[in-house]
């Protein structure tokens, strides 16, 4: 075979597949179908949802579609601008923007928009029909949170029923909690030893519910310390918490008939930095030789350092937090621990007021209801009753 023939055959071997490839890529992808644009439900009114049927060449046919581009205009004939891209196989897009007019990505509420979807296959693309008009509107009720609303309603009903029962004078039994029962003993010990009590509200924000629970417990404890004439030290990590704690303790001393014994300088701001706060509180424990330490509120990595120092100093310690990760540390290093919800129940236990005990009973009934639902959920999952799971789904 001559060299010329060999060269011709070699050329054919290379050129034929190339020709076939360019024929493939030159074919336009099928456009997406049935494009719908509508106001995104349950939002603040700055988003439009777009749905479409995938191109026939996406995952099937020529399988050439690599992505979809979402285009928007203010009129069907207007200039369409790109709003985003999604990968092949995706048939939804939420065109959302900012609610602030001074932001570059501002999305106006109430303006009509038209959309089309561009299927792209390399350099080639084909557009869908124009969909619209659609305008964004804010909703006044989030339908995805109905389950939460129903449960809140049920819980409120429980609370009201038990409060009513308590008001009628019905004796409500609440199980004793070791940590709360020990509060009197702990304050008494400090009084006998003539040493102060340390109350730490944790490193939560002033508006955390754990901090709010801590203020209510502080109020009860401060009233007792006022009666026993035992000083209470409250080092705070937040100036707002300091102000609240000062008012709470002042009021408690007033209620106990000992306003003269109240010392504002015992409730003070230390620092808002985590480990600097720990260092300061540890120093207080060791210098003031506090007989009793309360750690009630929100705690993080500092929980064990505080509790261990108190343990080494020989203080009786009562702790309580809703931070699940810190509970084991407190259990290991303090004498009594209020686990999770017990922190929220402590004020009711200490006050023994019927109305407050009523809310505790309501919590127990709500827990009973949740236990029944958990068992029902486990059975439903085992039997593949998907409707049961969907019944409780919450869309945030």
């Amino acid at each position: 075979m001559s060299h010329r023939i060999k060269a011709f055959l070699a050329l054919l071997t290379v050129a034929l597949p190339l020709t076939a490839f360019s024929q493939d890529t030159l074919t336009l992808p099928a456009p997406p179908q049935e494009v719908q644009a509508f106001d995104t439900p349950n939002d603040n009114g700055h988003s439009i949802a777009i749905r479409w049927k995938l191109s026939a060449d996406d995952g099937a046919g020529a399988n050439s579609v690599t992505m979809y581009e979402i285009l928007r205009a203010e009129s069907p004939e207007g200039e369409f601008v790109s709003r985003g891209v999604v990968a092949a196989g995706t048939s939804t897009y939420d065109d959302r923007g900012d609610k602030n007019t001074n932001r570059p990505n501002y999305f106006p509420s109430g303006t009509n928009f038209y959309y089309k979807i561009r299927a792209k296959a390399g350099e080639l693309s084909s557009d869908s029909e124009v969909a619209g008009p659609a305008s964004a509107k804010g909703q006044w009720y989030h339908t995805g949170k109905t389950v939460v609303l129903i449960f809140m309603g049920i819980f409120m009903i429980f609370v009201l029923i038990f409060i009513r029962q308590a008001q009628k004078g019905k004796e409500l039994y609440v199980r004793p909690i070791g940590g709360i029962a020990a509060v009197d003993e702990a304050i008494g010990r400090a009084t006998e030893m003539g040493r102060p009590i340390l109350y730490v509200m944790g490193l939560g924000a002033p508006n955390d519910i754990a901090s709010i629970a801590s203020y209510t417990i502080l109020s009860r404890i401060a009233k007792k310390t006022a009666e026993y004439q035992t000083p209470i030290l409250v080092p705070c990590n937040d100036p707002i918490m300091m102000s609240i704690a000062q008012e709470t303790v002042r009021t408690a001393y007033l209620d106990a008939g000992r306003p003269d014994a109240y010392k504002e300088e015992n409730i003070y701001f230390v620092t808002s930095m985590q480990f600097a706060y720990v260092a300061a509180v540890n120093g207080i424990m060791l210098r003031e030789k506090t007989a009793t330490n309360f750690y009630l509120g929100k705690f993080f990595a500092e929980s064990l350092i505080l509790a261990e120092t108190g343990s080494i100093a020989g203080s009786i310690q009562i702790s309580g937090t809703d931070e699940v990760a810190q509970i084991p540390f407190f259990v290991a290093a303090t004498d009594y621990t209020l686990i999770g919800e017990e922190l929220y129940a402590a004020s009711a236990y200490l006050g023994r007021e019927p109305l407050l005990l009523g809310t505790l009973k309501a919590q127990d009934w709500a827990k009973g209801l949740i236990m029944v639902l958990l068992i029902g959920g486990a059975l439903a999952a085992t039997l593949h009753w998907d409707f049961f799971v969907k019944l409780f789904s919450v869309k945030v």
Binding site: G138, E265, T271, I305, Y344
Partner: protein, 205 residues
Amino acid sequence: MRQQLPLTIIFVIGVFMALQYFVPHQSSEFIYEYALDWVIIIGVFAMALGLWSLFLVHFAKIQKKSAGWGYSTIAILGLVYMLIAGALWGIEEGSPFMKIFWYIYTPIQATMFALLAFYIASAAYRAFRVRNILSTILLSAALLLMLRLIPIGPLSGPIQDIDRWILGVPNLAAKRAIIIGVGLGIVATAIKVVLGIERSYLGKD
């Protein structure tokens, strides 16, 4: 009146915040964010109160020569230095303010955090002492979980399986139980405060 006014404010704001969760409309968002901005504004003003409190407490300690008054002197000097350094030379990298922050404050903070390792060891020693059946179970579970991190040949496989079960079944069940309880406790506390059932922090009428 001393109680009625704060209780009314708490009720109105509390009910609004609860309803706001169910209203996605931008008007609701606007009021919510406006309220949150107020928290920041109050926080800034409260910081002045905090600084004043800090100064008074330490100044009193120095005056009375109380235990550890030397530390109080350092605290006040540090406070004054950082205020002046920040005001005069700013807080850019390399400024006197940032030098103190990086070369004194940060190492001290890291040292405090590092202490945690030693405290974990001493707390673990107390927690894992074999005293009764429960602490024995705790010790066994802890040992298995620690062994998971060590390559021990053919035993690694079964230990991994046991540990996965411990973490995924009893541990997770207990965690979820606590989380559900905490969730209910949060709602109950919020209801008590908003409805004025819990008013111990306001004192008697």
